[in-house]
């Protein structure tokens, strides 16, 4: 469903994403992990067509994101790190606007709106202005916005960041429900979340893929945390978890 091949993105001298390749099959939930600044958001922005790669290709549902951008973009729902809300619009007006620019037919919008409002638990806030909503509701409206046009592919950039534990559980189960009908790419820092929600994991570090595997293969006898720290310390000259632990003990 998503084919990322030899993706590279350079900003001047800085290489944010370096020769990244991975694939996600239909209906799968991919956990996309990596330390801050490792190129997760950049990769997701390229997959969604927000910015082009310096080289490499991305295919979404068989369409090249650069050459057949329109067809690909119609099939993607994207929740950026900060939910892209217009703060002066009501939730309903905002979701209707998104449905329209995603190219939905006029007749389908009312039903789609009902569907996402129920699915994301927004019934109590549909007529409120998004600027006045709490962080949890903003995140849910962001998710509703990503799924309103029923896209085949969902790209979610840290969807649970800043939420309280109950909200995290709600959003997580929502994402789990979405799998199957949708293919999901999910970036996060919360490793237990990945263990619970995802089937496959890609870990990138300093712009390169260090691990791409199914979660069952990775966690045999080890926790995902260990796998993660091992993977990123191979690549980086920074102190490993072990050293950091020693330093803390010394203090």
């Amino acid at each position: 469903m998503i084919e990322v091949q030899q993706l590279t993105k350079r900003y001047g001298d800085l290489t944010a994403v370096n020769n990244v390749s991975f694939s996600v099959t239909s209906g799968q939930i991919l956990g996309f992990l990596g330390p801050n600044g490792s190129g997760k958001t950049t990769t997701m922005r390229i997959i969604t067509g927000f910015m082009p790669a310096s080289s490499g290709t991305v295919k979404v549902a068989g369409f090249d994101i650069f050459d057949e951008s329109f067809e690909a973009r119609k099939r993607i729902g994207y929740l950026p790190e900060n939910p892209p809300l217009y703060n002066d619009m009501t939730v309903a007006a905002y979701l209707r606007f998104v449905a329209r620019i995603k190219g939905m037919a006029k007749g389908d919008i009312a039903a789609a709106l009902d569907r996402v409002v129920n699915r994301c638990g927004l019934a109590t806030v549909v007529d409120r202005v998004t600027g006045h909503l709490s962080k949890g509701f903003r995140q849910r409206v962001g998710l509703a916005q990503a799924i309103i046009h029923n896209p085949q592919v969902l790209v979610l950039d840290e969807p649970t960041v800043g939420l309280d534990p109950q909200q995290i559980i709600e959003i997580r189960s929502l994402i789990k429900e979405l799998a199957g009908a949708h293919t999901v790419v999910l970036s996060t820092h919360i490793l237990p979340e990945v263990a619970q929600v995802c089937e496959k994991v890609v870990i990138i570090s300093a712009g390169r893929v260090v691990i791409e595997d199914m979660i069952v293969n990775l966690t045999q006898g080890k926790s995902l945390e260990e796998v993660f720290l091992q993977a990123i310390s191979q690549d980086e000259p920074q102190p490993s978890a072990h050293h950091r632990h020693e330093a803390e003990v010394a203090q």
Partner: protein, 258 residues
């Protein structure tokens, strides 16, 4: 086309659900009313002075509402527009970039051209409403006097074209930054420059002089206020608007090749 209307609708709605539209409209009408009141009082004073003078009737005949009230009113409103329009347009792109909604727009199946045209049309409609509301002043004149309608219409067309140029320029500066203050200030500098660029024309020599005069938005606007609609002026307004829209489209698109 449908995407254009969707964006126009969203933009216009955001003007009117926030206080922006009401503050701008009130301010514009307040200043317009002040100008109109003062110009009309001055006109009345002159008229009664001339009438008292011997043979003042002839001089009073030369006084007319078009030259003494409508024309200066239009020029005053133009100056207000120089300042207000960049403040109306400053948020168009800058706010989207800052608020993260730019990502939503640019990852949707919408052409950059449609975004640019949609935002332009929305601001254009807004300034039409703004300028249209000042129509009460000439309407009052027509109720109680007899100004020449043709000249007023031509002046209003000029005012709308001038404001449309400012809108296009303001949208361009907004598309270049994510900071609304920078967008407003650079927009103001650009519109002000267009307004004053003709000032040194008289002493600038035979080549540069006419060129500066042609580049000045004031020059073309003043002709239309006098009731002269020139193809030359229409070409000037149209090409400035088209150029600014084209550059805005490039600026939005540039994200894709940076």
């Amino acid at each position: 086309m449908r995407n254009v209307f969707t964006i126009v609708g969203k933009e216009l709605r955001s003007y009117f659900v926030s206080p922006i539209a009401y503050v701008v409209l009130t301010g514009f009408l307040l200043l317009g009313g002040w100008f109109f009141f003062n110009l009309l009082s001055r006109f009345n004073l002159l008229l009664s002075l001339y009438m008292q003078m011997q043979q003042g009737g002839e001089a009073a005949n030369r006084l007319n509402l078009n030259d003494y009230v409508v024309a200066p009113l239009m020029h005053n409103l133009a100056i207000v527009l120089v300042i207000l329009v960049p403040m109306i347009t400053m948020r168009a792109y800058a706010e989207e970039k800052k608020g993260g909604t730019y990502e939503l727009l640019l990852t949707s199946p919408v052409r950059t051209g449609e975004i640019v045209v949609g935002k332009f049309l929305a601001s254009f409609l807004f300034i039409c409403i703004m300028i249209g509301l000042t129509g009460v002043y000439p309407a009052i004149l027509m109720k109680f006097g007899n100004p020449e309608t043709g000249v007023i219409v031509s002046g209003y067309l000029g005012l709308i074209l001038l404001a449309t140029v400012f809108v296009a320029v303001g949208l361009l500066t907004s598309s270049l930054t994510e900071n609304q203050i920078i967008a407003a200030v650079s927009g103001l500098v650009a519109t002000l420059l267009l307004y004053i660029i003709g000032w040194p024309a008289e002493t600038a020599g035979d080549v540069l002089g006419p060129l500066l005069r042609y580049l000045s938005v004031t020059e073309h606007f003043a002709e239309m206020v006098r009731g002269i609609i020139n193809t030359r002026s229409l070409v000037y307004f149209a090409s400035l608007i088209a150029l600014a829209l084209f550059l805005t489209q490039r600026s939005v698109e540039s994200l894709r090749w940076r």
